[in-house]
């Protein structure tokens, strides 16, 4: 899941300062699940923006809407009439959704969220980073724990010298990924995997090779 | 088997003993009461302690009684009883009596009224030993004082403040 957090109100107010009719658009996928841009957050932000604007003597007209998914053109198409009646769009989707909107409509589209990472939920209200989308998954040999997404230094072969008592030297409330990997391998009786040297990572499959694209030929028209 | 306190109270109530606390109206000499364990807690309980207070109240004025705490049936033994006085454990006896001494001192009373010889002797002794300023007095002495019939020779346990009060036949002093 893609996780995101709302931008400070002040930044958003800056974007929309010239406009008075706003379409505030949520997304019912990842950002709903991570409590950043679903129907509920749209409602809260609408209230907040209206009040903040009113403080400076301006009455905002905000239309609230939440799409099933903002990163698909068909869904985005649904709001054409709403966009037509708005001066600007504030999107509460992740970066993908914002771009989808911006591509489709000629009106200004502003992001309401900072898109953060691909993560999982630890428990209610807590998400942590799990995947860096490197394009060449190593989890099969690292006991199901990713040293790229979860190690600050993206080390491939064991912890750095700063790992102590199982925690990362950079962020002490984060566990050392390699410590976790070792514990997990021990638990699975696969410590021999650890001895295997993982060759230097080819970052071409990751963003290092430029923007990526997936084409499923059987599906693509 | 009766305690004489009961009769003191009865006689006063019946007017046979015409006691009066007038002598202490101005003086305001303060009294506290050592309830004898034997008579109060061990035998007759609070009713006899109440009789005792009734008598003393009539004799010295209720307002001049300052109670020790605890009192009546729950009073604290002075340490004179049970043969302690004769037992030879003087130091232990005084240690025992220290609490009682403190209780008496706490009241600030000028006199501690005792109803029994053991108490009298012990209260007197600890007062003396720990340097208390109070006197220890039998109740009968005070009854006679308040009746105005207490002669000069019957005042061995009265302090100087009461030596000359209401003296009966002062000339009989020997």
């Amino acid at each position: 899941m893609i996780t995101a957090e709302r931008k400070p109100l002040e930044e958003l107010l800056g974007y929309i300062a010239p406009y008075s009719r706003i379409l505030l658009l949520g997304c019912n996928e990842c950002v709903t699940v991570c409590a950043a841009g679903g129907r509920k957050e749209v409602g809260l932000l609408a209230s907040a923006l209206k009040m903040a604007a009113r403080k400076s003597g301006k009455e905002l007209q905000i239309v609230e809407h939440t799409l099933e998914r903002q990163c698909d053109p068909e869904y985005v198409e649904e709001v054409a009439s709403m966009v037509a009646q708005a001066d600007a769009v504030v999107s509460m989707a992740c970066g993908c959704g914002v771009q989808q909107m911006a591509m489709r409509y000629a009106k200004p589209v502003f992001p309401a969220l900072n898109t953060k990472f691909m993560g999982g939920s630890e428990r209610q209200g807590v998400w942590d980073e799990r995947c860096a989308g490197c394009g060449n998954c190593l989890l099969g040999v690292t006991g199901g724990i990713c040293p790229i997404a979860r190690c600050a230094k993206r080390l491939m072969n064991g912890p750095c010298g700063g790992s102590a008592n199982g925690v990362c030297e950079i962020t002490p409330d984060v566990p050392c990924a390699w410590h976790l990997i070792w514990e997990r391998l021990e638990e699975l009786g696969q410590t021999e995997d650890y001895l295997e040297i993982i060759p230097a990572k080819d970052w071409k499959t990751a963003q290092g090779g430029g923007p990526r694209k997936i084409i499923r030929e059987d599906l693509a028209e | 088997m009766k305690s004489i306190y009961e009769y003191y109270a009865k006689w006063i109530r019946e007017g046979k003993l015409k006691v009066s606390s007038d002598w202490n109206k101005e003086r305001k000499v303060k009294f506290t009461i050592q309830d004898p364990c034997q008579i109060v807690r061990k035998t007759f309980g609070d009713p006899i302690a109440d009789d005792l207070r009734y008598v003393i109240g009539k004799v010295v004025g209720e307002e001049n009684i300052i109670e020790m705490t605890p009192n009546k049936s729950n009073n604290y033994c002075c340490g004179g009883g049970g043969g302690f006085l004769q037992s030879g454990f003087t130091e232990a006896r005084r240690a025992y009596g220290k609490v009682k001494f403190d209780q008496i001192m706490e009241t600030g009373a000028d006199y501690c009224i005792t109803g029994c010889h053991n108490c009298h002797a012990q209260v007197h002794d600890i007062g003396h030993h720990f340097g208390g300023h109070y006197s220890t007095v039998h109740i009968w002495t005070l009854i006679c004082l308040s009746l105005g019939v207490l002669g000069p020779n019957e005042r061995a346990y009265l302090g100087d403040d009461l030596k000359d009060v209401n003296v009966f036949h002062p000339e009989s002093e020997h």
Partner: protein, 1011 residues
């Protein structure tokens, strides 16, 4: 056949006493469709508990936990509740009692009284109730929301009868009322009239009579209580200042042989004191020092030991093992002095306190004693009734049952358990009376049609002196969509209701706003009243213009009128946004499943079967009887083996009971009234259907590795010891010295709770040893001797016969070493300050019980039930619902709930049966439409609701389109709305409180009133 004749003997059950126990017993019976007469000599029901501030171990406020009980209109016409009523005579016998009831006049017609308080303001001297300390509570009612909700007048104190009569605006005062005498037929009687509390006035050394700052625990409770004399402020009675140090002295009037004390333990006071100390620090001032002087800290109930630990460790409540000699206040001193000593050294300690609370125990109530004597119930010398050793609620007179503190001192959960048990037995003697079939109004298209709102202003003139009802009605008419508005003053007059109904029909009203008193009183009433004219019960909104306008702003009429208008406008907005809803009707299966074939399970099964339910009794092992098979006798001398034999015979031969031994529970689904459970019977799968389930799976005798248990032949558990005494008396006769060690494997880190039964079982064994061998020396090493209730008398007996009890502390436990033929036990006697070594012929370890964690966990998983931290089944409410479980239709009894002695297990079995009968008596179950529902089109299946729900109701289910979405079972949902508030997709709404309703009300509330 015999059962049938009993059921046919018509009549009702008389419950004497309207405290918690009486209410529980009466509600159980009424819910099981038995007729009940509930009488109490007080004007309103509620009993002692309504005077408490908060109760242990949850430290909840009692007011709101008891209020739904007494106010809930679930009596279905079976419950005839009478205040101010006493039983004056009883004739006849079981199945056919004739009782004479005398109802003292209340001088207030309850039907008419609106509890406006006018009489009380004008004639306060007639108010007679005094709940301790203060002669008068804020109102004469015992607690603010007393049921029935009306005043009572003490006519003897009234000098101006005519004036009093005239002052009532609704003419409810009847100054000439006379006592009413009636006769009633009943099949059985439950005595639940509670107990009195010991009066410590004569104990001069505790200073209660002389010192205002020395109070009883109940008085202290009143001081803490929000409805108490100080309005919920903790203040010293002597000077009105908050105390800095408070002390409790335990066992005042209990565990004593002189000055009027009872020889028994009152069982509840230790916990009561702990609670008061904790609440003192938690709610008033954490700087207040709290000290409890105790003899034995008896935290023997379920999870009570943890509560005790919390009191000590988290709240810093100080516990001193000492009984003070005196509470003194020397002349001129502001503070109280407590004189006490400690175990470690012979010396006096004097400590100052601001308040001292005497934990006074229970005593038999003289009135109740007289009634019991009239019934020829056998009593102990102290006046408490004698009960059967296997049936704590059965008296010596058939058909007469007891429960609660009337049976002996106890706390609320045990009272509730006994009450249900008593109602089980008493209810078996009377017939089920048919209940008129509940016609559920359908949700018709009209009620959902275009909104036509009717506004009913129902305040009486006297309630609304500050309000201009005419103006209010005119205002209401001006609100859009309001098609009619009217005030009708005599809201209590049935004829005026008819006028209202006519107006509603004439105007085609489909939504109603009632402007009157709190919805807490009005809503149910109007829902019932307006159903016949087709108003959906969920399209009625109440504007609380009495409490929130007329009364609270009585002094500012302009503001009160404006606010009343606003409240009406808000209610109209709310009702406009409301949706018509239908209640749920669930058809009920009337069979029961009992899991566990020990004495508890068998007893529960037999009670249910006796009342006509078909029962499946499932036992994991090949044999019935459970752990009790290891026991010989109870401490009272009851023959356990005979009990088991009798139960097994009855259970296996009862036509309504099917026993499955060597059977495990495999799977489970469904809901209350309609459960399906899969069994593995000797390996073969079988599915059964049932409406209710009782868990009676017991617990496991503990076998900790300690004190050479299992290593040295001289060391054994109390269970083993009992066997030896029973089977090898010759061996026992040779014994010279025996040592017993308590709390082995209980009250420690691994098993933090008290096993409750070990203290009495050691004493039982000690007495049995001495019976064989009076010369044996027996030492019992204990931490706190927890012989609660009448077990205390056996503790006394054991001491009398020379058993020596020695306290040990966890920091300095005894040591057991092998020493040739003997086992040497070394321990410290703190009082002497010496070590003692005993060469013991036998060392008996009180190893207690542990939860059958593994099997409980497996069952909990299959059934979806919660367990406590230490692996026992968790009941719904530790205080008020001790046998009900969180999941409707599930009940727990016996050691599966927590360890306890046989008699208590059997009581709980009967209680669970009684509670189960309240489910099984119904052909259908009606569930209110108070649940959350999911808009599946909006749901993002994010799991927030699944995680947020306090009752684990929402589930992500796959629909026929293969879409995984949240589903909230309307039957299981408790209606709190937490999920609705947290749902990030706004896909969940709570019926009756939908966002649109709340937001519309808000809109209205914040709109300017054009007045």
């Amino acid at each position: 056949m015999q059962k049938k004749t009993k059921l046919q003997s018509n009549g009702s059950v008389l419950v004497v006493g309207g405290g918690l126990g009486g209410i529980r017993a009466a509600l159980d019976l009424a819910e099981a469709r038995k007729d009940v007469i509930l009488v109490d000599k007080a004007p309103c029901i509620g009993g002692l508990m309504t005077q408490l501030d908060r109760t242990f171990p949850t430290n909840n406020c009692d007011l709101c936990t008891v209020a739904p009980f007494t106010a809930k209109d679930s009596r279905g016409g079976h419950l005839d509740m009478r205040g101010l009523t006493t039983v004056t005579a009883v004739k006849g016998k079981e199945g056919n009692f004739t009782v004479s009831l005398m109802t003292a006049p209340r001088f207030v017609n309850v039907e008419k009284c609106t509890a406006c308080g006018e009489c009380q303001r004008k004639y306060p001297e007639c108010v007679s109730f005094a709940p301790g300390l203060d002669p008068r509570a804020p109102t004469c009612m015992r607690y603010p929301k007393a049921t029935p909700y009306a005043y009572v007048i003490d006519m003897a104190k009234c000098a101006d009868k005519e004036g009093l009569k005239q002052c009532c605006p609704v003419g409810a005062i009847e100054t000439d009322a006379l006592p009413k005498v009636e006769e009633a037929q009943c099949g059985s009687i439950i005595l639940a009239a509670g107990a009195a509390l010991f009066d410590p006035s004569h104990l001069d050394y505790f200073g209660y009579a002389a010192q205002p700052d020395v109070v009883t625990s109940l008085e202290y409770e009143r001081i803490l209580s929000a409805s108490g004399p100080t309005g919920g402020k903790l203040l010293r009675p002597s000077n009105g200042q908050p105390p800095k140090k408070v002390a409790w002295i335990q066992c005042v009037g209990s565990r004593g042989l002189q000055k009027g004390a009872g020889a028994y333990c009152s069982s509840a006071c230790c916990m009561f004191a702990l609670k008061e100390a904790m609440v003192t620090r938690e709610r008033f001032d954490s700087e207040i020092e709290t000290t409890i002087f105790y003899m034995d800290m008896r935290a023997f109930g379920k999870d009570y030991e943890k509560y005790l630990n919390r009191a000590k460790e988290q709240y810093g409540v100080r516990l001193v093992h000492s009984r003070p000699h005196d509470v003194l206040r020397p002349v001129g001193m502001d503070k109280l002095q407590i004189l006490y000593t400690v175990d470690e050294a012979p010396k006096h300690i004097t400590e100052e306190f601001d308040m001292v609370v005497l934990s006074t125990g229970f005593k038999m109530n003289e009135d109740v004693k007289k009634l019991a004597e009239d019934l020829a119930v056998e009593l102990y010398a102290d006046g408490f009734p004698k009960t059967d050793c296997f049936n704590a609620v059965a008296t010596s007179v058939p058909g007469v049952y007891v429960c609660g503190t009337l049976q002996g001192g106890k706390d609320i959960p045990e009272t509730m358990t006994q009450a249900s048990a008593a109602s089980c037995l008493a209810g078996a003697k009377v017939a089920v009376t048919p209940r008129p079939k509940a016609e559920l109004p359908a949700v018709t298209p009209e009620c959902a049609g275009s909104p036509r709102v009717g506004v009913l202003v129902t305040l009486c003139d006297h309630e609304s002196t500050a309000l201009d009802t005419t103006a209010l009605v005119e205002y209401a008419k001006s609100i859009p969509h309001v098609v009619c508005a009217a005030a009708f003053e005599a809201a209590c007059d049935p004829s005026s209701f008819d006028a209202v109904k006519a107006a509603i029909l004439a105007n085609g009203v489909n939504r109603v706003v009632v402007a009157g008193s709190s919805p807490r009183y009005e809503l149910e009433k109007y829902q019932a009243m307006l159903a016949p004219v087709g108003i959906n019960k969920y399209l009625i909104e109440v504007a609380n213009i009495r409490e929130q306008a007329a009364w609270v702003h009585a002094g500012e009429p302009a503001a009160a009128n404006a606010k009343a208008k606003q409240l009406v406008a808000m209610a109209v907005a709310g009702v406009m946004a409301a949706k018509p809803l239908a209640d749920h009707v669930v058809p009920a299966n009337k069979n029961a499943l009992v899991v566990g074939g020990g004495v508890t399970g068998m007893t529960a099964a037999l009670e249910l079967a006796g009342q006509g339910a078909k029962v499946c009794l499932v036992e994991k092992t090949a044999e019935l009887g459970g752990v009790a098979r290891n026991l010989v006798k109870t401490i009272e001398g009851g023959d356990v083996q005979a009990l088991i034999a009798d139960l097994v015979e009855k259970t296996t031969s009862h036509p309504n009971i099917k026993v499955f031994t060597a059977t495990e529970i495999v799977d489970h689904s469904g809901q209350v009234g309609l459960f399906r459970t899969g069994l593995s019977v000797n390996g073969a799968y079988k599915e059964i259907e049932h409406g209710a389930t009782i868990l009676a799976t017991g617990a496991t005798p503990n076998q900790p590795q300690a004190f050479l248990l299992g290593e040295n032949s001289r060391v054994c558990t109390q269970l083993d010891l009992q066997k030896v005494v029973n089977e090898q008396p010759k061996e026992v006769k040779k014994w010279k010295n025996v040592v017993m060690i308590q709390c082995v494997g209980s009250r420690d880190a691994d098993n933090p709770n008290c096993s409750r039964l070990c203290c009495q079982s050691s004493i039982k064994n000690a007495l049995a040893i001495l019976k064989e061998n009076p010369n044996a020396r027996i030492f019992v090493l204990y931490r706190d001797l927890r012989t609660y209730g009448r077990f205390e008398e056996y503790y006394q007996k054991a001491r009398e016969l020379g058993v020596i009890f020695v306290r040990y502390s966890v920091d300095n436990p005894p040591k057991v070493e092998a020493a040739g033929h003997y086992a040497n036990v070394t321990f410290t006697d703190v009082i002497m300050g010496r070590q003692v070594v005993v060469s013991a012929d036998c060392v008996g370890l009180s190893t207690g019980f542990v939860a059958s964690r593994k099997s409980n966990e497996a069952l909990a998983k299959v059934f979806g039930l919660p367990l406590t931290d230490d692996g026992y089944f968790a009941e719904m409410h530790v205080k008020l619902r001790p046998v009900d479980m969180d999941k409707a239709g599930f009940f727990v009894a016996g050691c599966a709930h927590s360890p306890k002695v046989i008699a208590e297990n059997l009581t709980q079995a009967r209680a669970a049966a009684s509670r189960a009968m309240t489910v099984l008596a119904n052909d259908t179950l009606v569930q209110e439409a108070k649940f959350a529902h999911v808009d599946r089109a909006r749901c993002a299946a994010c799991l927030v609701c699944v995680r947020a729900c306090p009752f684990d109701v929402p589930q992500i289910t796959v629909d026929d389109k293969g879409l995984g979405r949240s589903y909230i079972d309307p039957v299981k949902c408790h209606g709190c709305g937490t999920c609705a508030a947290e749902c990030p997709a706004k896909a969940i709404q709570l019926n009756q409180f939908e966002d649109v309703q709340i937001l519309s009300s808000l809109d209205q509330l914040l709109a300017k009133v054009n007045a």
